[in-house]
Amino acid sequence: MKNYILRRILQVVPVLIGISILIFAVMKMIPGDVISGILGVEATPELRAQLAAKYGLDRPYLVQYLDWIGGVLHGDFGESIRTSAPILPEILSRFKVTAELTILAAFISWIIAIPLGVLAAVKRNTLADRFVRVFALLGVSVPNFALSILLILVLSLAFSYFPPLGYVGFLEDPLRNLQIMILPAAILGVTISGSVMRMTRSSVLEVLRQDFIKTVRAKGASERVAIFRHALRNALIPIITLIGMQIGSLLGGAVIVEQIFSLPGLGQMTLTGINQRDYPVVQGCVLFIAFIYVLVNLLTDLLYAYIDPRISYD
């Protein structure tokens, strides 16, 4: 097990190197650059060259890349060209917001999706099942920005409720923090619960057909034991795979929802960085997001072995 974890963590290295090269290249290739962003398109070539030299952008790409990646290896993600603020502390503080949002959204989606998915599988082809399937379809197909705007409209017009603006950390003021977070988290939770619900339904349905469920019933088990202790546990692997991917991508920042609710999360930081062509910011964010994604995948794989005794990493 220890060997496996070590091996998997080492595998992260080539992945991150690949991603760092890719994102560096993409940032150089997209039209527009940070210099014209700061000086405007009318600036004289002399002024441009001066500024480029200041940020080291006049050096060959290879040198720029090696300089950047060398810093990253020492834990130095560089500074933002726009604000001169060091990037890593900024990423970490914004990641706290995104992580909280993700955890809340994931909990909300599980609370909705797993019980309803199981219910739909057990009561297949009944009214309850149809209701769940329609709900899941809506969750999968309604984009979260539409849901966000709709919810804000309904809450403000019908209930005169406005989600408080201005982010406050959980440790500073937990109640106000939750007030700010609950709406975006619920929207993300509902959006991702659609696919979890579908996966739960089909996976549980599949397991319920298997012989050992009949054995369990033949032993005198209650439906509750047969469904939750046996069917759901056997159905968990594909559900966890899906949840792992969802958490991975949510931790990378829910760009649109963060933007709508003006949450200072990682997605918002990345988006602003891209808009301003702030190379080191975008590169740092993407690298960090990739690292988190790979880490979540590793945790998912370790969870498999914990749930299913047939899977072992020795």
Binding site: D211, K214, T215, V216, A218, K219, G220, P309
Partner: protein
């Protein structure tokens, strides 16, 4: 009620929506299993033998249901008579795994891959007894020894994927017998095992039933298994019992052409080489049985009345029932 189990007029329906009447997969089955009897049920795939036994456990899988007018009566140890078709789910649960238990065809898939053997044996104990954990461990260990599993201490800690099919079937038997049931339903317990293991499992079952007061219903399509383990046998064809008699009687004087055909198609070592006998044609599908005898199209002795009306199950000699016009009462008198 002096017998352990009585099925009367059992039918099993496959619903076809609201507008059409359901298809009767099993129809008019009367069976009586006596205490400590080994009762064989034989028939080809799809003849309804397995679902009949699932119905006895109240375990018909969706969307099958027991038809109206069916009766399944079971005599409990304390002399109480139960009508299984009208029990509540909670009452059925008390019966399953305690008074009636079941083993299945595929031992490899019959146990939950997520739990150890011990956890799965303990579950059966926990549902029906109030033993403490150490007591359950002792009981499980003793039971594994009875089904002759080597290294039982180790096996208890193993997961199903660690064991072979034969071992798993022994574990299944252990689970089925641990609460000392009155009736064990064995649904083709040896079909998925290879021949040497089959013989071991049958020997084990024969041995165990000596020490337990359990009646066994042995479902199989293998007449050899019937000959080796059973006293009484019912032959199923297309959802009906076509013949029922003691095993000696069936092998000595099979009366129904279908049973006779089955016996003729058994291979034997020794003797001269010849083409194996086969019964011509195929089983009609449920819902297309027509009004005559369901075996008529495949029967060598088919005559006109076989197609016009269905024969009833009648006693042709003491204890020997047959559903065939050849043996209908008054047949000899008419000739």
């Amino acid at each position: 009620m002096e017998h352990l189990l009585e099925l009367r007029n059992l039918s099993i329906d496959l619903p076809r929506g609201k507008r059409q009447s359901p298809v009767k997969l099993v129809e008019g089955v009367d069976l009586t299993v006596r205490k400590k009897q080994n009762f064989g049920v034989v028939g080809e795939s799809g003849c309804g033998k397995s679902i009949t036994c699932s119905a006895i456990m109240g375990l018909l899988s969706y969307p099958l249901t027991v038809g109206a007018g069916s009766s399944i009566r079971f005599l409990k140890e304390n002399g109480e008579e139960l009508e299984i078709t009208s029990l509540s789910p909670a009452e059925l649960r008390k019966l399953r795994g305690k008074d009636i238990s079941m083993i299945f065809q595929e031992p490899m898939t019959a146990l939950d891959p997520m739990y150890t053997i011990e956890e799965q044996i303990n579950e059966t104990l926990r549902f029906h007894t109030s033993l403490s954990k150490p007591e359950m461990h002792e009981a499980a260990l003793a039971m594994l020894k009875k089904v002759k599993i080597p290294r039982p201490e180790q096996i208890l800690k193993d997961y199903p994927h660690h064991l072979s099919g034969g071992m798993l079937q022994r574990v299944m038997i252990a689970i089925a017998l641990i609460n000392n049931p009155r009736l064990l339903i064995a649904d083709e317990p040896t079909t998925a095992l290879d021949v040497t293991i089959q013989a071991q499992i049958l020997d084990l079952m024969n041995e165990l039933r000596e020490s337990y007061d359990t009646s066994v219903i042995m479902i199989t399509h293998d007449l050899g298994v019937i000959a080796e383990t059973c006293e009484e046998v019912a032959v199923f064809y297309a959802g009906q019992v076509v013949e029922q008699a003691s095993v000696e009687e069936i092998f000595r004087a099979a009366a129904h052409p279908y049973t006779a055909g089955l016996l003729k198609s058994v291979t034997s070592l020794g003797g001269e080489e010849k083409m194996l006998y086969t019964i011509q044609g195929a089983v009609p599908t449920a819902g297309n049985f027509g009004q005559g005898c369901r075996f008529a199209d495949r029967c060598e002795y088919c005559e006109s009345r076989c197609r016009e009306s269905a024969p009833a199950l009648t006693e042709i000699s003491p204890g020997h029932l047959c559903r065939c016009w050849l043996h209908a009462p008054g047949k000899e008198a008419a000739q």
